[in-house]
Symmetry: C2
Subunit: 205 residues, 2 copies
């Protein structure tokens, strides 16, 4: 693409707007918030969606335990206050990514409705896509990808979502996907279809 000359710049108070960043990236900045039990497939699904979008030249970023818990939120524990602050910060960071024009995805259990609604409230209408990764507890427990259910059942982990702490399912999620019944590809394509329908990304060719 042609490069503009620096002489076009208005120096003072000049900023690149969110809209200009979106034009550059050919997409709308947004937050796709995956929520569900441990083992439901949130992170796998978020990364699959990221991969499909990347193949279409879209800019994505997945926030998950790997890049958040040991960095930004490393000074938080697992008290109720710290859990709420954990989700609050993730919501704020996701908002910054959306403002940058990026399609930000978050993959955290985020069991409380109030916490998720707080994250939603930071974004403009239709820029927050809540994806309920629905999967029966017994299936998640059978998968037990991280061995956490076993520890929770043995009492080694306290207040474990689904076992000894509540999970509040979304009442009005934009997308609901049962990962015990659908394939990963079907789930990922359903998320992409929603993004296309709401004009967050152009329709695929």
């Amino acid at each position: 693409m042609a490069q503009q000359k620096a002489t076009n710049i208005t120096w003072h108070q000049a900023t690149v707007t969110a809209q200009e960043r979106e034009q550059l990236l050919n997409q709308k900045g947004c937050v796709i918030w995956f929520t569900g039990l441990s083992g439901s497939g949130k992170s796998t699904l978020a990364n699959a969606v990221a991969q499909l979008l990347h193949q279409r030249q879209h800019h994505t970023y997945v926030l998950d335990g790997d890049n958040v818990r040991h960095g930004l939120n490393k000074n938080l524990g697992f008290s109720p206050e710290d859990r709420a602050e954990n989700i609050r910060r993730i919501g704020e960071v996701a908002k910054l990514f959306a403002d940058a024009g990026t399609i930000a995805m978050t993959a955290f259990i985020s069991p409380y409705r109030a916490d998720r609604e707080q994250a939603r409230a930071l974004l403009a209408d239709n820029r927050f896509v809540e994806v309920f990764v629905e999967c029966p507890l017994d299936v998640c427990e059978e998968r037990d990808t991280k061995g956490l259910y076993k520890k929770a059942r043995a009492g080694e982990i306290k207040e474990f979502t689904g076992i000894s702490a509540p999970y509040e399912p979304p009442l009005k999620s934009e997308v609901t996907l049962n990962t015990a019944e659908l394939s990963l590809e079907e789930c990922a394509q359903a998320v992409i279809a929603f993004l296309e329908e709401t004009d967050l990304v152009p329709a695929g060719r």
Copy 2:
């Protein structure tokens, strides 16, 4: 650009890598950390650099008081601990943006060397560019863009950097720019030149 077929996807454990995001954006993810006194021109300079890079189709994002203090860091005050935590979180978020492949810029006084070094330590070598926005105190105070120096002199603001709290200038900043002597365009071009020299962005045409 041609779109790949979804059939190439390896579903399990598949993630988009940082390198793949950089290829998409045709740049290297990095953090440009502007530091200097209040009124030195950090935010104006960061936004001018963002504008020049955007004209070259680069993806940038400026973190500053406007988008951080009222969001992610709204639960922080001005105690020494909170000031340190403020800069720590900004460093962690900037790192996430760099990991996303974005050229992240931060425009905060960040007066303490130790805090800046902590932010630097999060990034790989040459992915952290410290820009010392040097400007004599008397010039900053004369500008007094936000009226803060007047309040600090009147004792209405305590521990104000340069007046009643120290500013520790960088000892090894990648770029040092005296905004009392150079024009904004000269300063912005000097930052761009450094990014080109270190291959963070391709040379301009």
